[in-house]
Amino acid sequence: MNRYLKLVNFEFNRFFKLYIVLVIVTIIMQIFAVIVESRGYMREAKNVIYGDMMSKADFIKNYEAFTMQRVVQSNWFYWSIALCVVVLLIYVFFIWYRDWLGKNSFIYRLLMLPTARLNLYFAKATAILIFVFGLVALQLLLFLIEMQIMKWIVPAEFRVDLPIKEYTDFNYLSVILPGSLIDFLLFYGMGIVAVCVTFTAILFERCYRLKGIIFGISYGLVSVGFFLMPLLIDTFVLNYYFFPVELFVMEVIAGIIVLIGAVWIGNYLLKYKIRV
């Protein structure tokens, strides 16, 4: 356990500097988005109210009041989130491959540590999760700051202040911040399974190199296929025999089996087949 925690901390610190850069870039992009959108709206309001002699109430009726929804749907905001997603996706691969880089490959030392090699696998997965959840928390905190900035720029009569939930529910943000705790656990549970399957596929490549790429991809496809099996069988073989609740339970069980499979195969590969 102690070894595992140390390894998690080690993996965390290795990426920390780049992570901080990612956090700062996100903050800058999103605050920029708020300022651009709020000022744009107020400019339009001024033009219409003073230029076309429209009353404030009529302007709000015709153009809709300002909400954070506009900010969330702006390009800067969208790309800030896309950037975080892409960086973390790349890091899921890089967290393994960096150990093989350089002349004295670091993986050699890691594998020699007097602990179960599976800890290495778990530590890397945990580090990825911490980075993901950290960014989710950052988004929530940023929302509070951004709403304050919006309040400074857009006067109260022009805006409708809604709880954060209203901005995350009906668009791409609902993937990052699902509506309820159960959904949060389901979504990120699926994320954990996906990360582990990817890790095991990477290990296939690291064990068998060129041939391993084919093994890794086939393993990934088999995992996805197994996970979708209840749905596929119900749709194409049983002609929608099961009720949604029954399918849901089967999917959860299939997900757990895929996860156990990924960890078990990963453990086997690390223990007996890994090459440095």
């Binding site: 965390f12 929530l140 809604l162 509506g179 309820s180 705790l181 959904d183 849901f248």
Partner: protein
């Protein structure tokens, strides 16, 4: 510990932020207010097991809400689980008792029939190949004997099926070993027919296909004929009659509000008897236009609104006689008000021989429940929004359906 400070800080921030977000964002922190019905006069019992459906909009965010027993139902809007588990309330009991019968079926009340001894189901199946050829165009009929738990199921090709663009199943009845399916058949040339298909359970075949009514008039200069079958399609229970309403509608632009309004030019009303398989026209010429019609047991209620008076005329199908017309006051909405809600039309519905009228007033909505057989008021109340968070021109509330909780 000192070595670990970075990771510990990140973990603490994460847990606290995400934790508070999910624990605090319960139903109460939602934008949609809680609606409550407050009694002014009448009997509180009228609200029992009554579900009022409505929509609440803020800017471009939409919510549906339900008021049950006079209070907003605490629906979980947020979880996908609630979508997975959701089942139309009519099917809850059947799901417990005859679960397997419901498998592979469209859970739409119109496709089902239920009495003490039988459960019946009809489905329209159409399958097109990629080249656009129809390779399946048939009815699927399935009947369950509740006592023996035996199922009779068969498929029947639809006569002249290729002539129809689509077929809507409106109602299913089971009478003396015959399944009667009332449908709306749409043709390619936009004409519409009401059919009754009669299936024999013993012989497992279609024995009759009757065209009950035909509406072949198309759209011309913004006027068309609307055709509706107004029987109690939400219920699975046996019904003796079906009601048809044909209305010639003209679209017109209102110069004052700049909104398109629909004007009824002519209307015809018919009653169909499922057992005798006869169609009867209701002669309502002296009553003027019919805006809406509804059916309760063997009484038809015709509705027509003139200014702020709503006329309801009951017609007894069995005796073929008219009963005395009942007048209800529906407050006219005024044009010079800041509240946009007040422009909304009153919501009127007739259900089980009672009339329900919801109307926007200055500080909420009025709810009126009247008895159609006597014309008396059973309940009067006010629907008010509690914990309203938005207090601007920006929110709108619409009521769209009142139904009994089954």
């Amino acid at each position: 510990m000192k070595k670990y400070w970075k990771i510990i800080v990140v973990l603490i921030i994460t847990v606290i932020t995400v934790g508070t977000y999910y624990i605090r964002s319960s139903f109460a922190s939602r934008t949609v207010p809680e609606f409550e019905v407050k009694k002014i006069s009448g009997d509180e019992k009228e609200l029992q097991d009554l579900v009022i459906h409505g929509d609440y909009n803020v800017n471009d965010i939409h919510y549906s809400f339900k008021i049950l027993n006079g209070k907003t139902m605490n629906i979980n809007y947020d979880s996908i689980i609630s979508e997975i588990v959701e089942l139309p309330s009519q099917f809850e009991k059947i799901m417990k008792e005859h679960k397997n019968f419901l498998r592979q079926k469209v859970l739409n009340p119109g496709n089902f029939y239920e009495d003490k001894a039988w459960l019946a189901y009809a489905e329209y199946e159409i399958e097109n190949t990629f080249s656009g050829m129809t390779n399946k165009n048939e009815f699927l009929i399935e009947v369950l004997d509740k006592k023996t738990n035996e199922t009779v199921a068969f498929e029947v090709a639809i006569p002249d099926g290729e002539n129809y663009y689509t077929i809507n199943i409106n109602d299913v009845q089971l009478l003396n070993g015959k399944v009667k399916v009332l449908t709306n058949n749409f043709s390619e040339d936009s004409s519409e027919e009401a059919h009754l298909y009669v299936f024999d359970l013993k012989e497992k075949k279609l024995i009759r296909d009757d065209v009950i009514l035909k509406n072949s008039e198309g759209v011309e200069n913004g006027n068309w004929t609307s055709f509706s079958i107004n029987n109690d399609s939400l219920s699975l229970k046996p019904s003796e009659y079906a009601l048809f309403l044909l209305q010639r509608v003209q679209e017109e632009m209102n110069e004052n509000t700049k909104e398109v309004e629909e004007k009824i030019l002519a209307s015809e009303c018919y009653v169909y008897n499922f057992e005798k398989e006869v169609l009867e026209k209701i002669n309502h010429e002296e009553l003027g236009m019919v805006e809406a019609a509804s059916l309760h047991n063997s009484t038809v209620f015709l509705q027509n609104q003139i200014d702020n008076r709503l006329e309801v005329v009951p017609y007894d199908i069995e005796t073929g006689t008219w009963r005395e017309k009942i007048l209800f006051n529906v407050p006219q909405t005024s044009e010079n008000t800041d509240n946009d809600d007040l422009h909304a039309e009153p919501f009127i519905t007739v259900l089980n021989g009672k009339i329900y009228i919801i109307n926007a007033i200055d500080d909420g909505y009025s709810l009126f429940i009247g008895d159609l057989s006597t014309g008396q008021s059973l309940y009067e109340g006010k629907i008010v929004a509690k914990h309203k968070k938005i207090n601007q021109y920006n929110d709108k509330t619409y009521f769209k359906l009142i139904e009994p909780k089954s």
